[in-house]
């Protein structure tokens, strides 16, 4: 049952072969057994989960089930869910009980899904290893000495360890794709604006996008069908017709043109990751695709540009945490300014403070043009590279991450080393394009390798088709960590 697809689970539930309560208990038992080691979940609330499961069973009994009715999912702890503690991985929100539902949460509630719990993450989604969480690092289910990636590391570990049927993540610079790659699962970051950000705690508003993480592309399509759609409460939510993202899954790949950016296969790419990605490309050729050599010359600038723009937006977004209306307040202070300064100093962790400081600096008087404006101009050059590339190809492929999962503590105290692990994912966020990662083999150390698939704007259905056809021909996506 823990290896069943969402479609299979849905059929079993509709046929009354299993109830949602039974399925939810199965996962809660697995979480109780495995989470103490993995630390994939920050908050569980079996009372709410089981109440939702009972409601789903009642709905199914009336024959009113929808695509996800009764299916137990996990939610990244960045989404406000009414009545649930919502921490964003931070001490700042350690005791914050969300008073309302994020749009994504309401969509899943309306679809009848069960919420199993809130998954661990890097603090305020700032990190690539899940080590910045106030609630402790998450272990990679494939090797407990390794990181799961970040920032959606708890979700990736929970999906890989079968501690939920599927789950959500968010991606600002690679936070869905990189952990999906490092934990051997599938993850999709949609085109910016496809999924509402309402109730999703903001990091960098012009880059943040929520998406599904699951064990197959087919599952991702069903989840995206529920998550996507216009929401007037998010001013950047796009008014578009509702799509069925599963509509093209069965299409053959004959004639598909795959662009391979030279820059993604250059120095810095680990040999074993490169080999697995090349093997995946060879498989695509067998499926009828052709490859095109392309160039994204400005993509090398994506890390510097990102580390100006994302911290600038974060420093503004995180100014709301002042210890007055919600969140952490320092126990002792002398006056109002001292209360702000101590509450923020004690409530935020080191990486969050670093990014707030970078952002404050680049936005400050005298530096705005040299940093912020220059970064925004280069952002346009990076986006234009993709526009030109898509004249010659239908999708772009390459590695998701330059290496497989590194060990906990390995990147040490130098934040720059950590930042470089997002070299292949960040440009996609800057351009606002959809990107995904699917498992395509294992590295020299036996850890999973992810293949990144980047689509043109609003091309999610085609990307899912491209991923699904590969998953019909290979079985990397159905491998499970030992002992799972």
């Amino acid at each position: 049952m823990i290896n069943a697809s969402l479609k299979q689970l849905s059929a079993e539930l509709a046929a009354k072969k299993i109830s949602s309560v039974e399925l939810t208990r199965l996962y809660l038992d697995r979480i109780a057994a495995l989470n103490p080691q993995l630390n994939a979940y920050i908050t569980l609330n079996s009372e709410i989960s089981l109440a939702q499961a009972r409601a789903a069973d009642a709905r199914l009994a009336q024959g009113k089930g929808a695509a996800l009715t009764g299916i137990p999912l996990a939610q990244k702890d960045i989404f406000c869910a009414k009545g649930w503690r919502t921490t964003c991985g931070s001490r700042m929100l350690e005791n914050f009980i969300a008073p309302y539902d994020a749009h994504v949460i309401s969509q899943f509630n309306n679809a009848g899904a069960v919420n199993l719990g809130k998954t661990n993450m890097d603090e305020f989604a700032m990190g690539s290893s899940n080590e910045t969480s106030y609630f402790g690092a998450v272990k990679n289910p494939w090797n407990h000495a390794a990181v799961p990636g970040g920032s959606s590391g708890g979700t990736a570990a929970a999906v890989a360890a079968r501690l939920c049927a599927a789950a959500t993540g968010t991606d600002t610079g690679g936070s869905i794709r990189q952990p999906a790659a490092l934990c051997g699962i599938s993850g999709l970051k949609p085109t910016y604006g496809v999924v509402s950000r309402y109730g999703m705690i903001a990091f960098a508003s012009s880059l943040d996008q929520a998406g599904p993480m699951a064990r197959s592309a087919e599952d991702l399509a069903l989840l995206l069908n529920v998550m996507a759609g216009f929401d007037e409460r998010d001013s950047t939510s796009l008014q578009r017709d509702q799509e069925d993202y599963a509509r093209d899954l069965a299409q053959p790949l004959q004639g598909l043109r795959i662009g391979l950016p030279r820059e993604f296969f250059a120095a810095g790419l680990s040999g074993d990751v490169g080999a697995a990605v090349e093997a995946a490309i060879a498989e695509y050729k067998k499926l009828g695709a052709t490859v095109v050599d392309i160039s994204l010359p400005n993509s090398r600038l994506s890390i510097p540009v990102y580390y100006v723009l994302a911290p600038a937006e974060a420093s503004s977004n995180l100014s709301r945490f002042d210890g007055v209306r919600y969140g952490y307040r320092a126990p002792e202070y002398s006056d109002l300014t001292d209360m702000y300064e101590k509450s923020r100093a004690q409530g935020f962790g080191a990486e969050v403070k670093r990014r707030i400081m970078i952002g404050t600096y680049v936005l400050s008087h005298g530096y705005y043009d040299a940093y912020y404006l220059q970064a925004q101009k280069i952002r346009r050059l990076i986006a234009q590279d993709f526009v030109e590339a898509y004249q010659q190809c239908d999708v772009i492929m390459g590695p998701t991450s330059p290496t497989t999962a590194f060990n906990l503590g390995e990147k040490g105290d130098d934040p720059v080393q950590m930042y470089l692990s997002d070299i292949y994912t960040i440009a996609v966020n800057l351009a606002g394009l959809p990107g995904m990662s699917i498992p395509c083999g294992f590295g020299a150390n036996g850890m999973p390798v992810g293949l990144q698939i980047i689509g043109n704007y609003f091309d999610e259905a085609r990307m899912l088709n491209v991923a699904h056809q590969y998953q019909l021909a290979t079985d990397w996506h159905s491998r499970a960590p030992q002992g799972i």
Binding site: E232, P304, A345, F348, Y361, Y371, R380
Partner: protein, 95 residues
């Protein structure tokens, strides 16, 4: 560019982050590394390039000026650090 410890102090104050001398010292070294990484941008010729502030070229939507939120004062205040008689409490700012 090189960042001085005074710059770090000034930024910490602007960002309302209390810092000890030791934290200031380690933040200085790490921020310097990050700014060295960012410096790569400076050499790029961006004359005539329009800044890109957003992934989609959007204009702000307008809506009717009608009430869309229900009053949830009690619920919202139940998660505040300190409230009294429906008011948020902060240290005294006016003598």
């Amino acid at each position: 560019m090189s960042l001085s410890t005074d710059d770090v102090k000034k930024v910490a104050r602007l960002a309302r982050l209390a810092m000890t001398e030791q934290e200031m010292h380690s933040a200085h070294a790490q921020l310097q590394n990050i700014f060295d990484l960012i410096a790569e941008m400076q050499a790029v010729d961006t004359r005539g390039i329009e800044p890109m502030s957003h992934a989609q070229e959007l204009s702000q939507r307008l809506r009717e000026d009608v009430v869309s939120e229900a009053d949830q004062r009690e619920l919202f205040q139940s998660i505040a650090p300190q409230v009294e008689r429906g008011l948020y409490l902060v240290p005294q700012v006016i003598e």
